[in-house]
């Protein structure tokens, strides 16, 4: 796939230090990744991630502090659970779970963070182009068995 995927990252202000990594809201090394600084990873409403995907983003991720070290005690744990739910929900609408990610990096983990984001972008880049999430298209990935359509999350 030639086109560079558009990725939006919601990044907790307390976690990885973005000052040396970003420029005008975009990662310096990966200008296709737009970063939105949020007060805590738990601030991100899963609806917003869904909305971003609907509007044409190829991938979204949330970054919090290392698990156990959330400044607000449990924001990243809660966000991890919410992302799991969102992945299950969107999977039934044929959205690949690889498009939604939860990362956890501390203040000094800039290099590891960049590497992880690169891997995330690479995973998305090889996927077939995103269907608009609301229209039912061909499944991007085979549905795992045992996920009945009507299951509530």
């Amino acid at each position: 796939m030639t086109q560079v995927p558009k990725v939006i990252g919601f990044i907790c202000d307390w976690s990885v230090d973005l000052k040396p990594l970003s420029d005008g809201g975009r990662l310096r090394e990966l200008p296709n990744v737009r970063v939105v600084q949020v007060p805590c990873s738990g601030f991100v409403r899963p609806d917003w991630l869904e909305e971003a995907l609907n509007r044409g983003a190829d991938g979204v991720f949330v970054t919090g502090c290392p698990y156990g070290d959330c400044l607000n005690r449990e924001g990243n744990f809660l966000m991890r659970d919410r992302i799991d739910q969102l992945q299950r929900r969107l999977q039934r609408r044929k959205v690949d779970t690889a498009r939604i990610g939860m990362l956890a990096f501390g203040l000094h983990d800039g290099a590891a963070f960049l590497a992880e984001v690169k891997a995330f972008v690479d995973r998305i880049a090889v996927l077939p182009p995103a269907q608009p999430a609301r229209t039912a298209g061909r499944p991007a990935v085979a549905q795992p068995a045992g996920t009945p359509e009507g299951e509530r999350t």
């Binding site: 698990y67 991890r80 799991d84 990610g101 939860m102 990362l103 956890a104």
Partner: protein, 66 residues
């Protein structure tokens, strides 16, 4: 890496066997400090076994970290 961890677990298991013998020996000969100290050493050996198992991914949180 996995073989290193496995060897570590084996080594620590051997050590804990030793400490268990220490507990029984201390109890049998009424050397209570030896017995109690062995209890401590045994628990510490266990803690490192658990750590190694966690690093091998055999125990740990419900969801592995991503």
């Amino acid at each position: 890496m996995r073989t290193v961890y496995t060897m570590g677990v084996a080594l620590l298991s051997g050590l804990s066997l030793l400490f268990a013998v220490g507990i029984i020996y201390g109890e049998a000969t009424d050397q209570w400090f030896l017995g109690g100290g062995s209890v401590g050493a045994l628990l510490i050996a266990y803690s490192f076994i658990v750590l190694l198992l966690r690093k091998m991914g055999m125990t740990g949180p419900r969801k592995t970290e991503r």
